[in-house]
Each structure stands twice: as structure tokens, then as C-alpha cells.
């Protein structure tokens, strides 16, 4: 019996959100800051805000989902 490998990449909603937040934070950090230290701080801060906003908006929408 042959096994078909599904080449499609599968990410959950949370994984996709974290991936998006991380990649965009890195890009924004490099674009808006010059030094490594300031970039690292900006990336971490931006990532935390992205995640908090995502989870927060998710909870705000929760009452309307049913």
C-alpha cells in the first residue's frame, strides 16, 4: 500500500498568527531601527503587541461567534 505525502503546508490559526507576527516584527525592526540592540528591543516589543492585539481582538469577537 503506497502512502501519499500531502505537500501542503498546514498551520493552525494560532501558528499562522505567530508566524505572521514574528516575520513582520523582524521586517519592521530592521526597517525602523539601526543598531542591533534597538532592533532586538523593537522586534520583541512589536511581536508582543501583535500577539496581544490578535488574542484581544479574538476575545472581543467571541460573543458574536455564536
Amino acid at each position: 500500500m503506497s502512502v501519499m505525502v500531502d505537500p501542503e503546508l498546514k498551520l493552525s490559526h494560532l501558528q499562522a498568527m505567530v508566524f505572521f507576527a514574528l516575520v513582520i516584527s523582524i521586517a519592521f525592526g530592521f526597517l525602523s531601527r539601526r543598531t542591533a540592540y534597538k532592533r532586538a528591543r523593537y522586534i520583541i516589543w512589536s511581536l508582543v503587541l501583535f500577539l496581544l492585539a490578535g488574542v484581544g481582538i479574538g476575545w472581543l469577537m467571541y460573543p458574536f461567534s455564536r
Binding site: 501542503e8 503546508l9 498551520l11 490559526h13 521586517a27 526597517l31
Partner: protein, 175 residues
């Protein structure tokens, strides 16, 4: 990652917009604030670009950045930004195409698809890379494909933002 060395273009710009009191160099010759731009003797001898020339080069840099993510910043010798942009945009495109996101084409009728096409085309040549990667076509019947569509559009919009950033840096805005 080592600190980026400001390009000649940036130094040229800051020199022209510098205040009457330039930042005092430290004992080692570097500036106190690493965000400030160091003016080298070579820059001081170099003739500044004329306004028309600067605008032309700025447009060329923006076009290069749009065609290949990071190339605009590489031309300006902003190596860290160039590498970061190349990898972030390519990662978004690869994952978006891997999730079978929708890559919009130009022959759609509705406004949303046209807007999506503009966003996707923002990735420049990576638009065609995404099309080549997505051998089985898009599948937005599931949430996974929908996330992929967003990631592909994000790659394009991010690359447009980066091209605009390179354009502004070449024109003389502190970037």
C-alpha cells in the same frame, strides 16, 4: 548582527540637513548616538547629487527594491536591511504558496481581486516565484488556503513598503 554602516547617500543627506551643532565624536572617533550618521572625508569631498539626479536614482532604487526584495537597500549598502527584507518576503511567499493561498491574476473583474492583484504584485519577481511554487493551484475552500492568501498579500505590501523606504533613504530622509 553588527551595526550597519551608513551609506554615502545617507551621509550626504544628513550633511545637508545637519544642524549648526554637529554631534561630538567620542575618543574612539565614533559618535555618541549610533543612530547618527558619520561623515567620512570622502563624503566631504564628494559633490552632492543634483535634485533631478537624486530623484532619478531614488526611483531606480525603489524599482530595484520592488523587483527583488532587498535589492534597493543593497544598492544603498544597507546590508542588514537588505538581507532581512529578502528573507522575510521570501519566507512569506514560500509559506503562503505552501499553504495554497490564492495568487490573484490581472484578468479578474471584481474590485477585491484587483486589489489583491496589486498587493500580490508588490512582491515583484516573487509573484512569479509564488505562482511557480504553487503547482497544484490555490485552495481557499479551507482556512489554511485563506491564511496563505493573506501571507502572500502581506509579502507584496511589505515589499512595497520596503521599496518606499529605500526611495526615501535615497532622497535624503533619515531612514
Amino acid at each position: 548582527m553588527p551595526e550597519e554602516i551608513p551609506s554615502k547617500h545617507e551621509a550626504d543627506v544628513v550633511r545637508s540637513t545637519a544642524s549648526a551643532e554637529p554631534p561630538a565624536p567620542s575618543a574612539s572617533g565614533s559618535l555618541h548616538d549610533p543612530d547618527d550618521v558619520v561623515e567620512s572625508p570622502a563624503d566631504a569631498e564628494r559633490q552632492p547629487l543634483k535634485s533631478g539626479q537624486r530623484e532619478f536614482f531614488a526611483l531606480a532604487v525603489a524599482a530595484a527594491g520592488w523587483l527583488l526584495p532587498g535589492l534597493g537597500h543593497a544598492v544603498l549598502k544597507m546590508w542588514g536591511r537588505a538581507v532581512a527584507l529578502f528573507f522575510t518576503v521570501s519566507l512569506l511567499v514560500a509559506v503562503g504558496a505552501g499553504m495554497r493561498g490564492n495568487i490573484f491574476s490581472s484578468n479578474r473583474e471584481d474590485a477585491f481581486s484587483k486589489l489583491g492583484y496589486v498587493a500580490d504584485m508588490g512582491a515583484g519577481t516573487f509573484y512569479f516565484v509564488a505562482r511557480a511554487l504553487e503547482t497544484e493551484g490555490p485552495d481557499v475552500s479551507r482556512a489554511n488556503g485563506d491564511y496563505g492568501t493573506r501571507l502572500l498579500a502581506t509579502a507584496g505590501v511589505l515589499n512595497l513598503l520596503a521599496a518606499l523606504h529605500a526611495y526615501e533613504a535615497m532622497r535624503g530622509r533619515k531612514a
